[in-house]
Amino acid sequence: MAETRTAAPGLSTTTRPPTPGDAPRRTGPFVRGRDRVRYAVVMVLLTVLAVGFTAGILAYDNPMPVGSDGFWRIAELRATSVAVILVVAFCHAFATVSFQTATSNRIITPSIMGFEALYVVVQTGAVFVFGASGVAMVTGTTQFLLQAALMVVVATMLYGWLLSGRFGNIHVMLLVGVILGGGLGSLSTFMQRLLTPSEFDILTARLFGNIGNADAAYLPYAVPIALLAGGALWWRARRLDVLALGRDAATNLGLHHQREVIVVLVLVSVLMAMTTSLVGPMTFLGFLVAMLAYQLADTYDHRLLLPMAFLLGYVVLSGAYFVLRHVFYAQGLVTVIIELVGGLTFLVVILRKGRL
């Protein structure tokens, strides 16, 4: 060999001698100090907004004098809405960011791929197939848990298969997902038309909740389950960072890619089952908050992305709810508005990128 051998068996060829003034070279989620500052500022602002909207929902236009018994009773009733918003924002944010990471794609989301539609079909199918006894099957809490479990199994199998790379092509996958979502929705509608009115009544009460009249009875289950699933994702955050690099790079770095993706899918479907059971489908909320979180946090680090997406989700939902319910008295529009804004953002992102 012509090259001269250096004494130290290190890799470096062109290392400049470290000058004394140099800060040690470090690797971190932010490149410049000001990115870190921006992240902190955004988080503080979001927290302030979140606290403000929460206070607004609890106290605004409360007819009783502040601090009286009646005041607290009304506030307590409204606190249920706050809890529901917390769960929904948490589920959509964690599920969407994790799902996009597992699929290495920032366009598709669990909602767009029909996770919620699947949940609705499972519910409707139970009533449809088992009739009156099926009604009992969708109402109790054990049943609620069983159905969530069924949904998780079906979703994991279906989407695990869909995402297994068989369809390698993202366009095909998105198409299949959208058609699946739409098809499952129509299937549910069809079955619902064949139900007796009383069965239908119970089912709709179960399925089409909104933030104002979500079934609070499920909260004691939905909250811990969502926390467990979200916690599991949080615990795997560092693997999620690697998973986002895609199948080949993640495998090279020692992840069992398929196993990781399946685990994430299971957790995502648990979260989606919890939010759907409370307020029904919301197609674009997850997309909206995940995209905003990527833009605002601008880092690969899921331990920074996930909390920001959650806070964003809470601020968006609670803000819309507060303004529409208490200021405009139009609470039914909350999901409509969010879907509109989220859907428009989705279109803008696709059009601007010019590809999927």
């Binding site: 250096t6 290190g10 890799l11 690797t27 090279n252 770095l253």
Partner: protein, 251 residues
Amino acid sequence: MIELVDVTKTYGTETTIGPVTTQIPAGGITALIGPNGAGKSTVLTMIGRLLRPDQGSITVGGHDVSATPSLTIATILSILRQENHFITRLTVRQLVGFGRFPHSRGRLTPECERHISEAIDFLDLTALEHRYLDELSGGQRQRAYVAMVLAQDTDYVLLDEPLNNLDMQHSVQMMRQLRRAADELGRTIVIVLHDINFAARYADLIIAMNEGRITEMGPPAQILTEDILSRVFHTPVRVIEGPDGPLAVYY
């Protein structure tokens, strides 16, 4: 040593790669050459367990790549594919930092930081380490990817056409640096190369593939003949004596 026994992969109904049976010795640089579609990438990705062979077995340093846990393999072998694209926006240093994941599981130690800095310097990216990948030229990005697998600090390094997009200076630099990694650090490097002359100059062993099979294997002096090269590349190739050994001429 990398050992392949009867390794076969079939795509669809007509394309079959293999059966390939061969041994790649530990230490030094082995170059995989052959025309487009010969199956070089397929064989390399199967060795790197990114693609599961339909038949046959592959061992790297005595570990069966399909039976050994992925994380264990990741400390022995690293692989860089021909095409790379990430959804996450990363800087050079963040990307190279991911190369330490098999050792640190994401909690970078001072030792990791040292490896990262060395890999970055090794590929001449020191001044660019805090630039985002989407702000780099194709060649600079390619070097960042190579830095990532070098930071992984594995005995075996598999590279699929790493000279893609590199200019003359950086191609030569990269090959020299890989040569040093092999000589000084005892790495085993398997590399798919487009340019036969780079293979001749820097590799210890050349494996030529054609239509899914290995057709020739030997040290550069043995492969660099007009007869063999014309057959491998399906085009007339002349071999002349250059200043540093034989040169293939095919323009």
